[in-house]
Each structure stands twice: as structure tokens, then as C-alpha cells.
């Protein structure tokens, strides 16, 4: 019997086992950590975080969820596109799924066997075409009815941001610093420009052809798509993580450096700024006569069109997503929240909340 039998091997065994188990739990490879993607169509809210969930926008009742049981490997994080008939979304396992809006049953699934991507960006449906960028560098164009590949366009690097389209051209922001303009029908590159930093959110396209987007080097940029040139670029304090709100000639957005901006959409001139208590990751949404913001510190607050503070409510948790449901109702979601979705009316009164049945 060894009272002092070499502890080295025992320690080694414990060390290796601990290392391995910690490694497995630390990154398990499949645990996806992100804020929810939110869409709204008709009387429904579509919530993407792990699963896709359709919720009645009038009372917060769950209508269906896909898949029925959570599947971490095939989790969804991006807001789905809804075309009235189908709900289309990409998952983190290189698949685009179309789901019947009524029943929640799968209609078709597309998987590019060559790709190894993740669909971080939301799809855009233009007429009968689904446009969805992937981290495998490709922008996929699919037939919305069948899921058949129409064309694919290869960027220089991973694609994290959704696209905008005027029905003829598709505008694709890349993490490779490039903005690509692609012909919708053929998938051929029309023009491109280096904007000097990675782009992580979908651009906003105005009816006059002006495209608004930000880069991770803290610039808000307006691109004149007709002239194929930058109309203006403004340095901002902090990064913008979701699309800005374009409202009546004003570009409204918040940054992760606790600041809200209102810029003149034509010139880029600053109309007003407001300092906030928390980082703003979610897009602002219109609510009543002003705008609603959700902050990472759990605050939900409104600002008037002139930047005057309105009401503030505080939730336990972090707010990263927001959605306008009507002129008088908006929803917020995030991480570590008591409820997956919380709605507020224009007066700041909390309306319905959503949690999955059984929670």
C-alpha cells in the first residue's frame, strides 16, 4: 500500500479530466448565445432564439413553434422573413427552412452541401426570391416556393448582415468592408465599394435610393446607390449593432457607447443626441409620437421626435431586440429577461408578455 504513491499521475488524471470537461462545457460547439431576432406580420410576432416561435400579437399566446423541441445544433438567431404564406429563416447549421405560416409545418429546406456556414443574417423575400447571406461567404438566392437555388454570389469574407433590395438590385454589406450591389435577376455583381470597416447589420434603403448603414469603425454612412458613391459619412461614438430607423428624413439609432443619435438623412448633420444609462444594441422603433429604445441595462424608454425624454421602465435583464407591433404597441426582447417578450403601449403601460408554455 502506498500512502504517498506518486501523486503526479493522479493530479495529471484530474487535470486532464477537468480540462476536458471544462473545455466541453465551455464551448460545447453547439451552445449558441445571441439575442432574439424578431419579426412582425399581420397579427403575429415571430421570435427566433433557438427555436422559431409564432406568437399572437394581440395577447401573447403561442401559436406554434419550430422545431417542437429545442435543437441547439440547428438553432435560429435571425429574425425570419414572412411573406404571408410561409415563414422563412436560416439556422446556425447551414440550413434555410420554409415553414407554413398557418400550421408551423416545414415546407422545404435548403442546404448547400458545399457550404459550412451559419445563417446569422435575416433573409429578405423579394417577390418570389429569398435572399439570404451566410457566413460561408455566399449570398444565396432561392426560389421562395421550392427552395431551389437560383444563384449564389461569393463575397470576400463571411456575411453577417442582411441585404436590402429595390426589386432590381440587391445591396449586400460584408464583413470584408465591401458593399456589393448585385443584379437581383442574374446574381452578377454590378458594382462594389470599400467602406473601410466590417458591416454587421442590414442596411436601410430609402425610396430615393439612399442606403444607410454603419461600420464597426464607428461610422454611419449614406450611399447614393444611383450615383454609386458615398453621399456622406459621419463618425459616431460607439458601434451600431442593428439597423437604424429612418423616419421622416431622420436617421435614428443608438450605440453601444450609451448614445442616441438623430441625423439628417440627406446631409448627415446631427439633429440631436441623447446620452443614455445603458448601451443601445436594439434598433429603435416608432411608438406613438416618438421612438422606443431598449437598453442593455434593462431600461425601456421613449424619446420624442425632438429627442426629449418620455417615460422609462426598467426590466430585470438585458434588452437587445425591439419590434413595433402597431402605432401604439411595441415589444422588447433580450437575454436574461424574466419574460422572453414584453410589450408596452405608448403611455408606458406594460401590456402582454410571452414565455413558452410551461415556463
Amino acid at each position: 500500500m502506498h500512502t504517498f504513491s506518486s501523486p503526479k499521475s493522479i493530479w495529471k488524471a484530474i487535470f486532464l479530466l477537468a480540462l476536458a470537461s471544462l473545455a466541453l462545457t465551455a464551448c460545447g460547439g453547439v451552445a449558441v448565445n445571441n439575442w432574439p431576432g424578431l419579426s412582425h406580420a399581420g397579427n403575429a410576432v415571430y421570435y427566433a432564439q433557438l427555436q422559431l416561435i409564432k406568437i399572437d400579437a394581440t395577447n401573447g399566446t403561442q401559436i406554434w413553434r419550430y422545431p417542437e423541441k429545442p435543437d441547439a445544433k440547428n438553432s435560429f438567431i435571425a429574425a425570419p422573413a414572412v411573406n404571408g404564406q410561409w415563414v422563412i429563416a436560416g439556422n446556425m447549421n447551414n440550413e434555410v427552412i420554409a415553414i407554413d405560416d398557418e400550421s408551423g409545418a416545414e415546407v422545404w429546406a435548403f442546404r448547400d452541401e458545399q457550404g459550412k456556414g451559419r445563417f446569422i443574417a435575416s433573409p429578405l423575400v423579394v417577390n418570389d426570391t429569398v435572399l439570404i447571406p451566410s457566413t460561408d461567404r455566399y449570398l444565396y438566392s432561392l426560389d421562395a416556393k421550392t427552395g431551389q437555388l437560383l444563384w449564389r454570389f461569393k463575397a470576400r469574407d463571411a456575411l453577417w448582415a442582411g441585404v436590402a433590395s429595390d426589386g432590381k438590385m440587391v445591396y449586400l454589406p460584408g464583413t470584408d468592408h465591401y458593399l456589393y450591389a448585385i443584379d437581383l435577376a442574374s446574381g452578377k455583381l454590378a458594382w462594389e465599394m470599400d467602406l473601410g470597416g466590417s458591416m454587421l447589420h442590414a442596411p436601410v434603403l430609402a425610396p430615393d435610393g439612399m442606403l444607410y448603414l454603419s461600420t464597426i469603425v464607428q461610422e454611419m454612412i449614406a450611399v447614393d446607390t444611383a450615383q454609386q458613391k458615398v453621399a456622406w459619412r459621419e463618425t459616431i461614438e460607439g458601434k451600431v449593432w442593428n439597423p437604424p430607423l429612418l423616419d421622416d428624413g431622420r436617421l435614428i439609432f443608438g450605440t453601444d457607447k450609451n448614445k442616441v443619435y438623430a441625423l439628417d438623412a440627406q446631409s448627415g448633420a446631427t439633429l440631436w443626441t441623447v446620452n443614455t444609462n445603458g448601451s443601445i444594441i436594439a434598433s429603435p422603433v416608432k411608438l406613438g409620437d416618438g421612438y422606443l429604445f431598449g437598453a442593455e441595462n434593462g431600461e425601456v424608454f421613449t424619446l420624442s421626435r425632438e429627442g426629449v425624454p418620455g417615460w422609462t421602465r426598467t426590466l430585470k435583464g438585458k434588452i437587445y431586440s425591439s419590434l413595433s407591433l402597431s402605432e401604439n404597441l411595441a415589444a422588447v426582447g433580450g437575454m436574461e429577461l424574466e419574460h422572453l417578450l414584453v410589450t408596452f403601449d405608448a403611455q408606458g403601460k406594460q401590456d402582454w408578455t410571452y414565455n413558452p408554455p410551461g415556463n
Partner: protein, 271 residues
């Protein structure tokens, strides 16, 4: 605390090397792993020496004598062994303490690799918040994950045109290097019933499969780290002359002599 002291500095150094290396994340992982292992080299030497001293202790005549003498009195045995250790100047924790110090560093190295390859916008948000001001984010993003045939943020498979499936080359190398490393670092045991040796043998079998599974399912950047780390350990032990190369060779089987079986018979005991 853990983030501030370990993960954030590690992540920044890794990304700093990445920018220096022409935005090649594979080279950055290799150099960063080597750098961390070089910094912890003195700890490794101390661990090896401590382990060797404990190994030698077990063959020391007085150690054996004490064991025999107090085999029925565990308390006294422990006291005498402690006294002997003190007399010989051996620190009983000499081999495990350096290992414990290395533990957070290796875990931090691993976690910083994972953090530097964001998978979601939230991961990216967290990464950008951990970057030191001297790092130019426009030069870091997008992180070029391509290295040789691999996307370092994805599990690796080598696709060959004539095969209908991909070969997990990195997972195989992770398994092989883990096995070789485990075998080389296992001290020879003179006692086949030694529980420690049995445990080591079990680990030598179990760990390569576990690490291989991780190489198969996790991002190949982590497989690259495992391989470099394993090779460095093998090199370290070899340079210090502590690698047991004989462990890699198959052990000769004990031959059973049929003659003895046929002719042998009990010489004592009841019939």
C-alpha cells in the same frame, strides 16, 4: 476577474499576433500557443523534477523500509514518510503545484481562442468590448479564419474529390499526438498492481478518444491549438530527457512454457 486577468489579455495578445502575422489566424494560434507554453516552461520543468523526485522516493530503501515497518499503522506511516520527505528535501507538492498554476493559464488560452472566433453578433459584441485600444479593429475584422485547407472556426474535414466523405485529419492528428504524449510522459511502473499506473494507463486510452472527439466536433482552430500544445509537450520532455520512448513500443508478451504446464504439479497442500 477571470476575464480581466486571463482571458482579455490572452485574447488581445492573440489578436495582436494575428495583426502582426499578416492576418493569418492559423499562424497566430501556433505562435500564441508556443509563446504561452514557453512562458510556462519553468513551471513545467519544476513539475517534471518534482514528479521525478517522488518517483525516485518510491525506490528509496528507507521509504520501502518505513512502508514495511508501519504497514498496519497509517498514521505513523504518514508521519515517518513526511519526516523522510523533509530530510531528503522533497516537496510532496513539487509536481502538482506547478501543474495547478498552469491550469488556469491553459484554460485561459483555450477560452481566449474561442473568444477570438465569434460565432454570433453577441459574441462579436463581447469581443469588441474586450479589445484594448491599441488594437485597430478595422485590421482585425473580419478575422481571416482560413488556414491551409481549413476554416478555423468550423470543424475540419479534408474533402478529396475521389471520396464521398471528408476526412477529419485534424481530429486524427489530435488523437495521435495526445496518445503519443500520454505514453511518453507516463513513467514506467515496476509494480503491475500499482493503482496509479493503472489509472495512468486508463487515462492514456481515454484521453486520446476524448480529445479526438473534441477535434471532430469543435472548431478546427482549437484542434490546431491541441496539436501544437501536444507537440510542444513532447518536445519539452524530449529535450529534458524525460520522454519514455520505450512506452511507444509494444511490450513483449510473457511466454507461457508448455513444458512447465505439462509437468508441473502441486508440491504442497491437500490432494
Amino acid at each position: 476577474m477571470w476575464d480581466t486577468i486571463i482571458i482579455t489579455p490572452f485574447t488581445n495578445v492573440l489578436l495582436f499576433i494575428y495583426t502582426l502575422m499578416g492576418q493569418n489566424f492559423g499562424i497566430a494560434i501556433i505562435l500564441f500557443t508556443l509563446l504561452v507554453r514557453l512562458v510556462t516552461h519553468p513551471l513545467m520543468v519544476s513539475q517534471i523534477k518534482g514528479g521525478q523526485a517522488m518517483q525516485e522516493l518510491q525506490n528509496h530503501p528507507r521509504y520501502k523500509e518505513i512502508q514495511e515497518k508501519y504497514k498496519n499503522d497509517r498514521e505513523k506511516l504518514a508521519q515517518e514518510q513526511a519526516a523522510l520527505l523533509k530530510e531528503l528535501g522533497i516537496n510532496p507538492f513539487g509536481s502538482c503545484l506547478p501543474l495547478l498554476i498552469q491550469f488556469p493559464i491553459i484554460i485561459g488560452l483555450y477560452q481566449s481562442l474561442y473568444k477570438a472566433m465569434p460565432h454570433t453578433p453577441y459574441d462579436m459584441l463581447v469581443l469588441t468590448r474586450h479589445l484594448y485600444p491599441f488594437l485597430d479593429i478595422s485590421r482585425i475584422l473580419p478575422i481571416n479564419n482560413q488556414f491551409l485547407w481549413m476554416d478555423l472556426s468550423q470543424p475540419e474535414r479534408l474533402i478529396l474529390p475521389f471520396l464521398p466523405f471528408g476526412i477529419p485529419v485534424m481530429a486524427i492528428i489530435v488523437m495521435a499526438t495526445t496518445y503519443i504524449q500520454s505514453k511518453l510522459l507516463t513513467p514506467p511502473s515496476t509494480n503491475p498492481k500499482d493503482q496509479t499506473a493503472m489509472m495512468s494507463n486508463m487515462m492514456n486510452l481515454y484521453m486520446p478518444f476524448l480529445m479526438g472527439y473534441m477535434g471532430l466536433t469543435l472548431a478546427s482552430g482549437l484542434s490546431l491549438y491541441f496539436i501544437v500544445s501536444n507537440l510542444f509537450s513532447i518536445g519539452q520532455y524530449a529535450l529534458l530527457g524525460k520522454a519514455n520512448w520505450k512506452n511507444l513500443l509494444p511490450k513483449p508478451k510473457a511466454a507461457v512454457e508448455p513444458e512447465v504446464k505439462k509437468t508441473g504439479k502441486p508440491v504442497r497442500g491437500k490432494k
